[in-house]
Structure formats: C-alpha cells, structure tokens
C-alpha cells in the first residue's frame, strides 16, 4: 500500500497528513500564511520532512480547506465538508453527526457508515460561531485559546453577551473588563455565546447517534460542555488523533480511495 497525503489549508491553520494502510504516518500543523499556496508548501514540506519522504512518494494527494484551489501539488481538491465527514468517521467509527468549527466557518453534517456527507448546514457570512470569534475574544481577554476554554468550569456567574456579532461582542467584553467582572465569568459568557450559535446549526441537521466535534474549537472544553447542555446530548471525544486534523485525515482517506481504485498518478 503506497503513501497518500491530505493537505487542509484553513484560514487560521494549515494541516497535512501522510497515511499508509489507513494509518497516520506523520502529520503537521502550522499557522496559515497570507497566501494559501505558501501555507500548503510549508505544511507539506514539514510533514514530508517528519516522515522522511518526498512528494514523489505520494501516489495521490488531495487538497481541502478554503485555500484548496491554490495548492499546486495536489491531484485534486475536495470540499472540507466532505473531508471532515470522512475524517470524523475514521476518528470515531460510530459517529453519525459531525460538528466542525474552523477558523471562519462552522459546519454541521450527518454522515453515513462510509463517512459520506448527507444533510449539512453551514454558518452564513458572519464570524460568530467560528474559531475567529474565539480568537478575537481570547486576545481581548489576554488569555490563550486553551485557557479560554477552561474558564467556563471556573465561572460562578457567566455574563450574557448582548450580541454574537464579533465586533459588538468585543465591545461588550471590553465593557465587562472595565467594570471589573471576573475574567472567568466573561470567558464563560463567550463560550456560551459560541455554543448557542453552534447549537442552532446542529439542530438544523437533526442530530442523531454519536456526535463528534472536529476542527480547532473541539479542543475548547468550555464550548463543548456548554454545547452538550444546550443539545441535551453528549459529544464524543476523538482519541485516535487531534480533531483539528480531521479535514486533512479525510482528504488523505479520499486520496487512498482514489489510489485503490486506480486513479494514481
């Protein structure tokens, strides 16, 4: 079985995975550059270096993410929605509903036993409910992304944001900081606002079965726990690999399928 690769160029981070026989050989993640092509080159160079392989060793490579059409070395590009479906099923074989929260998009989807996407919903032209929202808020609070997630558990009286618009919410948060509200209450309010926005999209696809979160926000325990409360359902944890890598993993799995069906280069 030859090597295959998936390269997911997102708006905040870029990820690459090399797989063989359905297992990860190496992976890499970097902060995205201004140009998607540059991000792809860098993250692919990184993962190839870790695996001690070259691009020529890849029999098939699929690109995904918002910058997927700007990646020069891939054989084809596939939407991140399809890739996250495949990747989620590999991360957790029992999953039926996937929540993927990326840097500038939030998508929810139902998948079948093969990880093929059925009904899906995505946020519409607004940063609320995306990783960018959390990133902006963490910066205002002067905390790291991981720490922001942990604030929910420490909060005794979460604030309520008047708006989930990133710009207005930022003004709200600054007002609370200036009023001396404890940072954990502000952080919990931010995570709740985020979870509430995402819950609308989850309900839009009528969630059922095991639910898995992918994308960087899956690592925010405050958002995940609040979302569980709002949905009244448990959200499973991916233990096989970093959930942020799901898109790249899915792309590599699709590449493996192409290689298996003879579409190798």
């Amino acid at each position: 079985m030859p090597f295959v690769a998936g390269c997911d160029v997102g708006s905040l981070t870029s990820k690459a995975v090399i797989m063989k026989n359905g297992k990860i050989v190496a992976d890499a993640i970097i902060k995205s550059r201004a140009r998607p092509g540059d991000s792809a080159e860098e993250v692919m160079g990184e993962v190839l270096g870790r695996a001690n392989l070259t691009q020529k060793d890849m029999v098939y490579c699929i690109g995904t993410g918002y910058g997927r059409d700007k990646i020069s070395f891939v054989d084809e590009s596939v939407s991140e929605i399809s890739c996250h479906g495949k990747g989620a099923r590999w991360l957790l074989p029992s999953v039926e509903t996937v929540i993927d929260i990326g840097g500038q998009d939030c998508k929810t989807m139902k998948i079948d036993a093969d990880g093929n996407v059925g009904r899906f919903a995505a946020n519409d032209k607004c940063a609320s409910g995306t990783g960018r929202f959390l990133e902006v808020m963490a910066r205002v609070l002067h905390v790291g992304m991981d720490e922001l997630g942990k604030l929910t558990a420490r909060s005794r009286s979460p604030i309520t944001l008047a708006s989930t618009c990133t710009v207005w919410a930022q003004a709200d948060v600054i007002k609370y900081i200036n009023s001396g509200v404890p940072i954990e209450d502000i952080g919990a309010g931010i995570n709740t606002a985020m979870a509430a926005r995402v819950a609308i999209l989850v309900n839009a696809v009528k969630p059922s079965g095991d639910i898995l979160m992918t994308g960087g926000v899956a690592k925010n325990i405050g958002v995940v726990s609040t979302l569980e409360k709002l949905l009244g359902m448990k959200i499973k944890k991916a233990r096989k690999a970093d959930p942020q890598m799901a898109g790249a993993i899915g792309a590599a799995l699709l590449a493996a399928h192409k290689a298996d069906t003879g579409e190798r280069r």
Partner: protein, 392 residues
C-alpha cells in the same frame, strides 16, 4: 446568445437604449406581479429593475439601513448613481416589505440626489391574498394603474391593445415553455447559465425583438446534438429574487452539474400559463398575475407551491435543489426551510444557503457549499422515495 447575455448583464443594454433613443418611453418595474402587458399596450417599454453592476452601497445603505435585503438597496444605489437616468417612469410594488420601502427610500434619496426620481413614479399596490376581495382589490389597482399611465403619457389603453399585448407575451411564454421542455430531456442541449440568461433578457428587451431572437435560438438548440448533462447532476435553483448569471456559472463551473430548472422571480416560472386572448383582458391579467401564488409573498398557499415544486422536480428530473435566499429575506428564508424539511423527507437532497445579492459577492462561501452539495449528490445517486423521473 450574445444579445441575451448583453441584456442580462448590463443595466443600460443596447435594446433598451435603442428604444429610448427612438424617442419612446421606458418604465421600470420591480416585481413579477406587475403585468408588463399594460405597458406594452401603451407603447412603453417595460423594464424589470435590477441591481446588477453595483460596485458600492453608500446610497443604498444610507436610506435603507443595514438590516434589509440587498436587492432593493442595489436598485437604489444604481438610481443614486444615475444609472437609471433612461427611465421615464418607475413602478414600485410591495413584493415584500423591502421592495415596498424602495418607494419611500427612492423618494427620500431624490431630495438629496437631484433628478434620480423619474417624472412618473407610481406605487402599485398588490394584495397578499387572491381570494374574495383580494382579486377585486387587485383588479381595481390595475384599473388605477391604467388610468394613471393614460393620464401621464397621454395614451389610450384599449381592450383591443391589451388583448394584442397578451397575445404577443403569450408567444414568448410558449417559447420559454419549449426551452423548459428541452432542459427536461435526458440529454440537455443547453447550459443552465445560457437558459437563465435568455430568461432574464426577456425581462428587459422589447417583446417582439426578444421573441424573434428566442425563436431563432430555440431552433438552433433543437438541432444541437452535444449534451451538457452527460455524467452530471441535474440541479434546480430556487428561492429569493436572483438575476445573477454568476450564480449559475458558479454551479456549472465544476463540470459536475447542470442547472435544468429554476423557480426564481427572474427565471422561467410562468411558462405554460398562458393568458386568455379573448374576453375581458383586465380580468384575465388579474387572474393570471395574482392567482398564480408562485411567490411566498402570497399568504396561505404553501401547499400549492410545494406541489408545484414537486411537479417541476419530476418534470426536470432534478437530482437536487439549491435553495438560496438573500440575507433578511424572511419570505424565502422561511419558505426554503419548509421546502427543505418536506423535500428531504421525500429523499430529495436540498442545499439551503443564505447570501448577499450582488455580482461576485460571497463567491468563496457559495463555492464551498455548492461544492460539498455536489459531492453529496455524487455519492448519493438518484434521489429515493418520492421522485420518479418523468420523461418530458
């Protein structure tokens, strides 16, 4: 086809300007519930007002504010920039509340931008129900509109002229029906983008000229052997007002889909529904335009619209529906959600997206969603359940 594309993508397209330069009046209208036949009967060119070629929103934002559909805002933007200076008149209709507000916003903007309100500026009211007094009310509104046009433009609109106008427009309807039939065949010989451009062109071109071009184009299409549908998924586009060729190009650019039908304000929606060419023309126009209930602006007709959509899906053999609504479009936003619920339950895949109106706006976001939807269709095969392909 070039004539159609030019008419579909330029506000001041050649056919309109030629008409204008010959000294004949041009009147713009905003809603498909306005009978264009009345203007034709008066020797006036009826032109559907559109927001294409908008490259800013400072005028639209100033008078409308931010929380409203971008379609009427784009129209006001163009008006504020003098792009509708060729208009001798404009008819504003409450197709929805956003379009209704175009009346007062345009008038208000006219206080600040000299000369942007045409001499003839008329608010044409349309009821939201067709039953009982609704039809009587609409008929009365039509009579008032006729009287107003006659008084302002010093013309006489007789029943004879109206019946002639109906006959001329019916010919176009029959041709569009033929185009729809061609798109419904297993081998589709025309791209959805071309078909939509042809339909949009019909909303601005002088009727005889349009019909002539459409007739010639259709006879060429009937001779065509090349198929646009080989190995592609058949898509139907529905939802908010859209006259943007870009949207269709975006769907068909992936070479995995062909748009075989649409249920849009600007697309082919009335085809086949001809208006009687004898009898009382005003009553016939009222029955046709208000009685159709094809737009969610009409109250209490969801079941009829769902049934119509199902029939069109069957006829066109659509594998999936792309339902779009412009942000803040409550009518189509709500109705698309209901359509999605009911059609998905029948095994018909649906994509529901919210977007802004305007050329190239949201192209990246739309590309992702459309791409993922087409990937979904590629593994889903033919829809199951309620859909059986019917040969056209």
């Amino acid at each position: 086809m070039d004539v159609f594309y030019e008419a579909a993508t330029r506000v001041d397209c050649r056919p309109i300007m030629e008409w204008k330069n010959s000294g004949r009046p041009v009147v713009g209208y905003t809603c498909s519930y306005t009978p264009a036949e009345i203007f034709y009967a008066a020797g006036i060119l009826p032109v559907r007002l559109r927001g294409i070629e908008t490259d800013g929103m400072e005028v639209g934002d100033t008078y409308f504010g931010p929380f409203i559909c971008s379609f009427p805002k784009c129209i006001l933007q163009l008006a504020g920039k003098g792009k509708f200076s060729f208009l001798d008149g404009a008819i504003i209709t409450p197709g929805c509340d956003g379009m209704r507000r175009l009346d007062e916003c345009w008038r208000k903007a006219g206080e600040d931008y000299e000369g942007i309100v045409p001499d003839y500026f008329y608010y044409f009211d349309v009821p939201h129900k067709s039953e009982n007094h609704g039809m009587d009310w609409y008929l009365e509104e039509l009579r008032l509109l006729v009287k107003s046009i006659e008084d302002h433009f010093h013309v006489e609109i007789t029943d004879e002229k109206l019946l002639n106008a109906i006959a001329v427009f019916n010919k176009g309807r029959r041709l569009l029906r033929e185009l729809e039939d061609l798109r419904s065949k297993d081998d589709v010989v025309v791209s959805g983008t071309d078909a939509f451009a042809a339909a949009v062109a019909g909303t601005v071109m002088p009727r005889e000229e349009y019909t002539r071009y459409l007739e010639g184009w259709l006879s060429d299409l009937k001779e065509r052997k090349a198929s646009f549908s080989d190995g592609k998924k058949r898509i139907m586009v529905v939802g908010s007002v859209s006259d943007e060729i870009d949207l269709f190009e975006l769907i068909e650019a992936r070479k995995t889909a062909v748009v075989v039908a649409e249920n849009l304000c600007f697309g082919i929606r009335y085809e086949g529904n001809e208006i009687p060419e004898t009898g009382d023309p005003m009553a016939s126009l009222a029955a046709h335009y208000l009685g159709g209930s094809v737009c969610p602006r009409m109250f209490g007709k969801y079941k009829e619209r769902l049934q119509m959509l199902k029939e069109r899906i069957l006829r066109s053999g659509a594998d999936g529906l792309i339902m779009q609504n412009i942000r803040f479009c409550d009518l189509h936003g709500a109705e698309n959600a209901l359509f999605e619920r009911d059609l998905e339950a029948l095994g018909i895949p649906c994509l529901r997206v919210e977007r802004e109106y305007g050329p190239h706006i949201d192209a990246g976001r739309m590309r992702l969603r459309i791409g993922a939807f087409l990937e979904r269709l590629s593994v889903a095969g033919k829809p199951a359940g309620g859909v059986q392909r019917r040969t056209a």
